[in-house]
Amino acid sequence: MRVSCRVNGEQREADGVWPGESLLYLLRERLGLPGAKNACEQGECGSCTVYLDGLPVCACLVAGGQAQGREVVAVEGLTGPDGGLDRVQHAFLQAGAVQCGFCTPGLIVAVHDLLARVSTPTDADIREALAGNLCRCTGYEKIMDAVRSAAAMPPSTAAACPASRPGGPR
């Protein structure tokens, strides 16, 4: 079947979608957007977190067909039109909150959502918001630092749904 939806601000179409396949597969394997990561395929790790109609969800638990006509924003969509990083991405790099980086795209989306809802989150707010994002490397301390420092930066000028950058980093 064919699925069309807005992805990172651009209208996209995928053909030959198997009705049981996930939005995560559709993004990575059919639309060439490997930002959202595939780690557990059962909603446990959060590395596939993307916005679906403005809410962070596990892309591995959304059927591709359920995204028809919807708005998807993955980590690639958070950078500005000029390729500038979002404040959350900046903060993760500055704080050294990235080791292997596999959990990072999902965390960036989850933190982006947290800061859009709560401008100055408490540590309890941060832990609650990130309960569904597992990191096997960092021990979370640097991630906590990154979220606190992102919250202290002015919100990025990058819009929430800017045009994606074809040929951007994979």
Binding site: W18, G43, L55, L61, G132
Partner: protein, 286 residues
């Protein structure tokens, strides 16, 4: 596999009647795990996320009627005052990502004895509304479950909504798990006090083939609580309540805990939730 994407409730019921094998999918947080791991290959998926009515809630006479497609996140933000017990349970479900997508209708559909929405629905005396092209029926949630992951829903039926009597009173929910987030309950317990009628509702999770009520424990509290005076809880009643709740459970030993531990933990949760609920009753006044 087909992907059926009805735009209206009437279309969904017609599609289910024509394809009784089609697997409904709402939030997908149970269905997609089964598909991703090749545990299930239904002839078709029946997507319910385009049907506006399923995501609505409102009053229906004396009842509060909540569409089966309302997510946990919305139960927490929109219904915490009206359904405090269900909202407490919703806060313990999965992670923010799961709560943004997972629905109470899906929890009823999966009918896992560990489903966290189910004990509060039992305690609140909820009804489940089933619909098909043949008509609509409503039945007490206690009669909906027939065994682990089994219900009375006929192959051509869909879950339209659940309904809860809108009487006020303290509700509580407590759950045992190995961490504070992302855990399937080792056991859980829900309590609802209905001061206006002097009735009590209970729900036991993860300690039997289906979610269970503790009928004797409910009667004990209805008879023995000092409703009129709102006096201090008699300790003997608290202790007996814990025993009766533990006795109503039918737990097994499994990977998450032993039957003996579950009974013990349930008696603790029962006493604890009773104290919390009674404190609230005393604060608010009889």
């Amino acid at each position: 596999m087909d992907f059926l994407s009805p735009a209206t409730w009437a279309e969904a019921l017609a599609a289910k009647a024509a394809n009784p094998d089609a697997l409904p999918i709402a939030g997908g947080t149970d269905v997609m795990v089964e598909l991703n791991f090749d545990r299930r290959r239904p002839s078709a998926l029946l997507d319910l996320t385009r049907i506006g009515e399923l995501t609505e809630w409102g009053t229906d006479g004396d009842l509060l009627r909540i569409g089966s497609g309302v997510t946990y996140a919305r139960i927490i933000t929109e219904l915490a005052h009206r359904l405090p017990g269900l909202a407490m349970a919703a806060r313990t479900v999965g992670s923010p990502q799961i709560r943004n997508r997972g629905t109470v209708g899906g929890n009823l559909g999966s009918a896992s004895p560990a489903g966290d929405a189910l004990p509060p629905l039992l305690a609140a005396g909820a009804l489940v509304e089933l619909a098909s092209t043949r008509g609509v029926r409503r039945l007490p949630v206690a009669e909906f479950f027939t065994g682990p992951k089994r219900t009375v829903r006929a192959p051509d039926e869909l879950i339209a909504a659940f309904l809860v009597p809108s009487h006020r009173g303290p509700h509580q929910f407590a759950k045992i798990g190995s961490r504070n987030a992302m855990v399937i309950a080792v056991c859980s317990f829900a309590l609802a006090l209905r001061p206006v009628t002097g009735e009590v509702g209970t729900g036991i999770g993860s300690a039997g083939p289906t979610p269970l009520r503790a009928a004797q424990a409910e009667r004990l509290l209805a008879d023995e609580l000092p409703w009129r005076t709102a006096a201090v809880l008699p300790e003997a009643v608290v202790g007996r309540f814990g025993e009766l709740v533990a006795g109503a459970a039918a737990p097994i030993d499994d990977i998450r805990g032993t039957a003996a531990y579950r009974r013990h933990a349930l008696s603790v949760l029962a006493r604890r939730t009773l104290r919390w609920a009674w404190e609230e009753y005393r604060r608010e006044g009889p």
